[in-house]
Symmetry: C2
Subunit: 174 residues, 2 copies
Amino acid sequence: MSDRLRGKDWLSFGLKTLGEEGFTALKADRMARALNVSRGSFYWHFKNLRHFHEALLDHWKTTTTDIIIDDIDTRSDTALRTLIGEAFNADRKLERAIRAWATETEWVGERVASLDKRRITFIEKLLEAQGIAQNAIPVRATVLYWAYLGGALVQHTRLPDGQLDALVDMMLGK
Amino acid sequence: MSDRLRGKDWLSFGLKTLGEEGFTALKADRMARALNVSRGSFYWHFKNLRHFHEALLDHWKTTTTDIIIDDIDTRSDTALRTLIGEAFNADRKLERAIRAWATETEWVGERVASLDKRRITFIEKLLEAQGIAQNAIPVRATVLYWAYLGGALVQHTRLPDGQLDALVDMMLGK
DNA sequence: CCTGCTCCATACATAACTGTATGGTTGTAT
DNA sequence: ATACAACCATACAGTTATGTATGGAGCAGG
């Protein structure tokens, strides 16, 4: 087993760092020390910090959103309930760290914004499949997504299980 | 008129900077250059960066939340609708910047968390005054607040006016 | 008018980074 | 075995920041 690093090792560690210490910890210097290597390794795998950051964001996008969206069957009866359940119960510290990053760094904000659109469109599809009236879909999808994001910011407060169902019922007009 | 600065001038400029450039711009060096003074001024008014940051957060808390909460009559029929209307239509870039800061910096997170509690409790009071069933109050207040926060993160998307009413109606069970 | 308080500039020491250049080490395919 | 590619350490130059020390400038009241 070699203890030498490859690009993806840096990316994994970057994601871990991002979740635990925030984007301000995504420095070559700091990470190299934490990994017990020199920055020489970093600059071999990545041209500069910016390139690393972009690769990291891509890594995050594919290992979270892409996989989830591809996996859920839009037409399933329980799709929305499943998504909401997982989204609201998952550990959202990475989501939180990314939003903070997006707020401070313009190009990150742009990438995240386009992701937001994709996610909301997906929720709209789910609501549509549940037979919600066309004119009510955009607001509910948006509010639902906003609540998800807001909840990610306030990580200490969690909705009790039953109450999450109540929320979905409300959104489904039941 | 003297062009010399006092503590509150630094705080005002700090809040402006925070909203426009984020917490990473809250550096003595950078701000002093922007204000065309030397850091000597900064370090005369504030012991160090941390003291400035704490004063800034207090400044923000009193000039936003405190004033709003104190001004709204809990018993008024339209209190909730007024609050929601203002909250969702206001320019939330400061709110956004503060959350990003709170995510990255522990002591800021703690202060913001206690503020969150105060705000949610306030919303609960409003819902209670509207006669919402006791067991439904905590979830609705929380979801409503989460949606507000989430919306602050996704600043480019805004709910059309009418739809905001629909949201409130939904929360009021109408 | 001069004493003291408020406010600021300048200079210094230190820290935490970035990015480059160069050379060395380790692994692997032939 | 050797050659080449992948990986890493070290040293250097540069940047952006913090905080302190010290010496002023400007305005107030006695």
